[in-house]
């Protein structure tokens, strides 16, 4: 099957792209796909879409695929990608913008079920772990 992918400025100006760029405070088109972000990402081995692919898909306005990915919830904002990006794009901020798009959608899209943990598991966890997980993964 032949697929034609048309990249136009009209597409990058879509509401989704504009919202992500604004929330993240980043210019997505600055990315030239060097892949340094994915090379250094400590979570890459668990991701279904790599960080550089997330940026490409965000440039193209692929909202559905991005928001349905596991990868956006695996990013822990360690900032390795940000500190190594030669174009100074804050990739972690873009991924946070994707997460918050889901978390602020008006319905609960939590990616952490605290009550599903055993009391033993909950008991051993330090507050720093529980609070940061809830801040990142729940509405």
């Amino acid at each position: 099957m032949d697929t034609t992918l048309r990249i136009t400025s009209a597409r990058t100006g879509s509401a989704f792209v504009a919202r992500i760029e604004k929330a993240a405070g980043q210019k997505l088109m600055a990315c030239y796909q060097c892949g340094k972000c994915s090379a250094g990402c400590p979570m890459a081995e668990h991701m279904d879409i790599l960080p550089n692919q997330m940026i490409r898909m965000a440039q193209l306005g692929m909202q559905e695929q991005l928001l349905a990915s596991k990868a956006i919830w695996l990013c822990v904002s360690c900032m390795t990608c940000n500190s190594r990006c030669p174009k100074e794009i804050k990739i972690a901020e873009v991924i946070e913008a994707l997460r918050t798009t889901e978390l602020r959608s008006g319905e609960r899209h939590d990616h952490l079920e605290v009550m599903a943990l055993t009391p033993e598991a909950r008991g051993v966890l330090p507050p720093i772990a529980m609070i940061s997980a809830m801040r990142k993964l729940t509405s």
């Binding site: 604004k22 929330a23 993240a24 901020e93 943990l117």
Partner: protein, 303 residues
């Protein structure tokens, strides 16, 4: 450093008052040995962990900025206290520092936060300096001065310094080189121990995935601790209670994942200081470590 005791506003953070009591008591005790009187802030609240990355975020800055208002209150009533605060927790440091930088840059966000904090007597003006303890030791105390207080040099002890993410990333908060920091190695040297370089020292431990995805953490811990082990480290020092939990308490999971995994103690850098300063067990609290460091220390004649 003058002869008079310096007073320093100290922000411990939630985990230092829970599972990481060893980090709290070793911080306070070793600072006393350095003639720095740390004063825990009155009415401190959550640092706001983790720093929210959305450019429009104001709400998540309220908690950290409230703490900086508390610093100003402490400073107003304490003679000899500068407009600065110290925390030894890397997560608290990162969150407080980034919120501070953010409101220093965004006057509209600061105005909104001050409106929300209208019941406070002091307005925040971006005028408190947030310092990590390692930064304080290097820049205010000085490692040469610190070395003079060592009563029990940690001779022969091979120490791998693990930085993780929060001290050196993002670059706005970094107080050393992001890829090859040396501040902890220099502290280790000042304490008479031998710093051990290892490739994973600035790699992420997996952080809060420890809550519901311990398998991911097992992999990280295996890789990070395994790298320190390859370099024949005796132990690893950290400055974050979340890293400490993952690298210490998740070692059993790492062992299940990789039967070759070798257990190794994980200490807070402040415990290493307290040990070298001759503090007693009440300042060390090694009973709170998952992997007991005493056999390792004993083998080096340091128990």
């Amino acid at each position: 450093m003058g002869n008079e005791k310096m007073k320093l506003a100290y922000y411990p953070g939630c985990t230092l008052k829970n599972q990481a009591t060893n980090f709290d008591v070793s911080t306070v005790s070793s600072m006393a040995k350095l003639d720095v009187e740390v004063e825990e802030l009155d009415r401190w609240n959550c640092c706001g962990t983790v720093h929210a990355l959305n450019s429009d975020n104001v709400m998540n800055r309220v908690a950290p900025i409230t703490n900086l208002v508390r610093v100003k209150e402490a400073q107003a009533k304490t003679e000899g206290m500068a407009s600065e605060m110290m925390t030894s927790c890397a997560m608290c440091y990162n969150t407080l520092k980034r919120a501070n930088i953010d409101v220093q840059k965004r006057s509209d966000a600061l105005a909104t936060i001050n409106d929300l904090l209208s019941l406070e007597n002091i307005k925040y003006e971006g005028d408190v300096e947030v310092l990590h303890l390692l930064e304080y030791l290097r820049d205010r105390v000085g490692f040469d001065n610190l070395a003079k207080k060592v009563s029990k040099p940690l001779k022969g002890l091979r120490v791998a310094s693990y930085y993780g993410c929060l001290l050196m990333r993002p670059k706005e908060v970094a107080f050393d080189d992001a890829e090859n920091p040396q501040v902890m190695e220099n502290l280790v040297k000042a304490l008479g121990a031998t710093p051990v370089e290892f490739s994973q020292k600035t790699e992420c431990c997996g952080a809060y995935h420890t809550v519901d995805q311990p398998d991911i953490i097992a992999g990280r811990t295996d890789k990070i601790m395994g790298s320190a082990s390859e370099e024949q480290a005796d132990l690893v020092v950290v400055s974050c209670p979340l890293c400490a939990f993952n690298l210490d308490f998740r070692q059993d999971d790492a062992k299940r994942l990789n039967p070759e995994f070798k257990h190794m103690p994980v200490l807070y850098f402040t415990q290493l200081m307290a040990l070298a300063f001759g503090c007693d067990e009440s300042a060390l609290r090694f009973d709170l470590q998952h992997i007991d460091p005493l056999p390792t220390l004993k083998a080096r004649g340091l128990d």
